[in-house]
C-alpha cells in the first residue's frame, strides 16, 4: 500500500539580519502557509539565525534546467569586455 501523501512542501528563505538578502535554507512540510511559517521558525531559527522568513510553495518555484546551463550561461564567458579589469588604464590616470 502506498503511504498517504505528505503535507505540501514549502521552501524556506531566511534573512539573517537587516541589510542582507533572504537566503534559501531548506524546506518543511506544512498544511498551509501559516503552518509552514511556524515550522520554519522552529526548524531554521532556533538560535537567532534570522530576522525575517519567506515561505514559498516548492511547486511555485520555476528553476533553470541543468541541461540548458550552457545555453543560458556560457554566452557570457567570452564577453570579457564587460569587466572593468579588461581595460588597461595608464598608471598616470588616477581615480578611475
Amino acid at each position: 500500500m502506498q503511504p498517504k501523501p505528505d503535507w505540501p512542501l514549502y521552501e524556506i528563505f531566511v534573512r539573517a539580519r537587516g541589510g542582507l538578502d533572504h537566503k534559501h535554507v531548506g524546506s518543511v512540510h506544512a498544511a498551509d502557509a501559516s503552518m509552514a511559517m511556524e515550522h520554519a521558525r522552529d526548524v531554521y531559527t532556533r538560535r537567532q539565525e534570522g530576522v525575517s522568513v519567506w515561505v514559498v510553495r516548492s511547486t511555485d518555484i520555476v528553476a533553470s534546467d541543468p541541461d540548458e546551463a550552457d545555453a543560458l550561461f556560457e554566452p557570457a564567458r567570452d564577453k570579457i569586455y564587460r569587466h572593468p579589469t579588461f581595460y588597461d588604464i595608464p598608471k598616470e590616470v588616477e581615480t578611475l
Binding site: 505528505d6 531548506g26 498551509d32 526548524v43 541543468p66
Partner: protein, 329 residues
C-alpha cells in the same frame, strides 16, 4: 549524527558499468574537481540510492535518538538541566527535519521515508537501542555518542552532494553544544559525591563500547567504502574515524577521573596513537538485526506517535482546504 548507512550501498544499484559512460565520465570529473552535485544534476543511480539510504538512515537516527534522552526530561535534576535537555532533544528533531529535506531532493517522499522507518525496512543507528538507566546516561550520550557523531559528521560537511553537505554544516554547528553540555554534566557528577561518581563511571562502562561501534564495522569488513570514498560521499574510513575518536576521548576521561572500560587500552608511543582492545562485533550485529535491549520499544514509540498524530495531520489538511476554498470564493 549516526551514519552507519555509510557502510552500505543500495541493495541492487545499477553497476557503474551500466550507466551512460559519457555522463558517468562527466559526473566523475566534477567530483574529482571538488564540485558539488545538486538535485537536478545527472547522477549515477548507485550514487542516488546510496545517498537516499545514508541520509534517511541518518534522519531516522536523529528522530529515534530523541527517545533515550527524552526519557529523562521529566526527571532532570534542575530547571536549567531540564531546559538544556529540552533544547538538545528539540535540536535532534530539527536535525531529522534538515536531513529528511535533503533526502527528499533525491526523489523520495517524506511519507515513503517515514513508512520505511516504521515498517522496519530502514535502519537507524544501533546506539539508540540501548536504554538510559540513570541521569548520568544523559551526560554520557552527549559526551560520547554526540562526540562520535561529530567525528563522523565533520567530514560529511564536505560531502559531494550539495543538500547533504549544507544540512551537515547546520547540524555540526549545533552538535558542539550537545557534546559540551554532556561533558559538563559528566564533570559535575565526577566532582560530586561518591554516588554521583559511581553513576558517571557506570554510564561510561555501558556507553563506551557501543560508541566505538557507531563508526561501523572494521575497514576489512566494509567492502563498499571504496566507491563511497571515490564519489566523495565518505571521506575517511570507519577505522580512521574510530581511532581519532579514541585518541580524543581517552584524555577527556582521564580529566574526569573515570576509567575507560578496556583493560587492553594502551598508548603506542611509536604510532602516536592509542591502541584499544577487541570490539565485540557479534553484539553489534545482534543489535543491528533487531535484538538490542530496546529495538522493539523504540520502533513501537515511533509507530504510536505516528498513529496518534494521524488525526492531527488529517485535520490540518482539511482545515487548510476549507480556508483555501473560502479564499477562492
Amino acid at each position: 549524527m549516526y551514519t552507519q548507512g555509510l557502510n552500505e550501498l543500495a541493495a541492487r544499484p545499477l553497476a557503474a558499468g551500466q550507466e551512460n559512460p559519457e555522463l558517468l565520465r562527466r559526473f566523475e570529473a566534477r567530483i574529482d574537481a571538488e564540485e558539488k552535485i545538486e538535485p537536478k544534476d545527472w547522477m549515477p543511480e548507485a550514487y542516488r540510492q546510496t545517498l537516499i539510504r545514508q541520509i534517511s538512515q541518518h534522519a531516522h537516527s536523529e528522530i529515534v535518538g530523541m527517545l533515550p534522552e527524552g526519557n529523562w526530561i521529566t526527571r532532570a535534576p534542575s530547571l536549567l538541566r531540564k531546559s538544556i535537555l529540552i533544547a538538545k532533544v528539540q535540536d535532534e528533531g530539527g536535525h531529522g527535519a534538515y536531513l529528511y529535506s535533503a533526502a527528499e531532493t533525491l526523489g523520495i517522499s517524506r511519507a515513503e521515508l517515514v513508512d520505511q522507518l516504521l515498517s522496519g525496512a530502514a535502519k537507524y543507528s544501533s546506539i539508540f537501542n540501548y536504554p538510559t538507566l540513570t541521569w548520568a546516561d544523559v551526560g554520557a550520550i552527549g559526551w560520547l555518542v554526540d562526540g562520535a557523531a561529530i567525528m563522523n559528521q565533520i567530514p560529511l560537511c564536505r560531502c559531494s552532494y550539495g543538500p547533504y553537505s549544507r544540512a551537515m554544516i547546520r547540524v555540526c554547528k549545533e552538535e558542539s553544544f550537545h557534546q559540551r553540555q554532556g561533558y559538563d554534566l559528566m564533570l559535575k557528577l565526577a566532582r560530586g559525591s561518591a554516588a554521583q561518581r559511581a553513576i558517571a563511571q557506570d554510564a561510561l562502562n555501558r556507553w563506551w563500547w557501543p560508541s566505538l561501534m557507531m563508526f561501523g564495522p572494521p575497514d576489512t569488513a566494509s567492502p563498499h567504502t571504496a566507491l563511497s570514498v571515490r564519489w566523495k560521499i565518505k571521506r575517511f574510513t570507519n577505522d580512521e574515524l574510530r581511532q581519532k575518536f579514541v585518541d580524543f576521548t581517552v584524555p577527556q576521561a582521564r580529566f574526569l577521573g573515570l576509567e575507560i572500560p578496556d583493560p587492553a587500552l594502551r598508548w603506542d608511543a611509536e604510532r602516536g596513537q592509542h591502541v584499544h582492545g577487541e570490539i565485540d562485533w557479534s553484539e553489534f550485529q545482534d543489535v543491528v538485526r533487531g535484538n538490542g535491549p530496546c529495538n522493539q520499544d523504540r520502533l513501537q514509540a515511533r509507530r504510536d506517535a505516528h498513529e496518534s498524530g494521524r488525526w492531527v495531520r488529517e485535520a490540518a489538511l482539511a482545515h487548510a482546504a476549507k480556508h483555501a476554498r473560502a479564499a477562492a470564493a
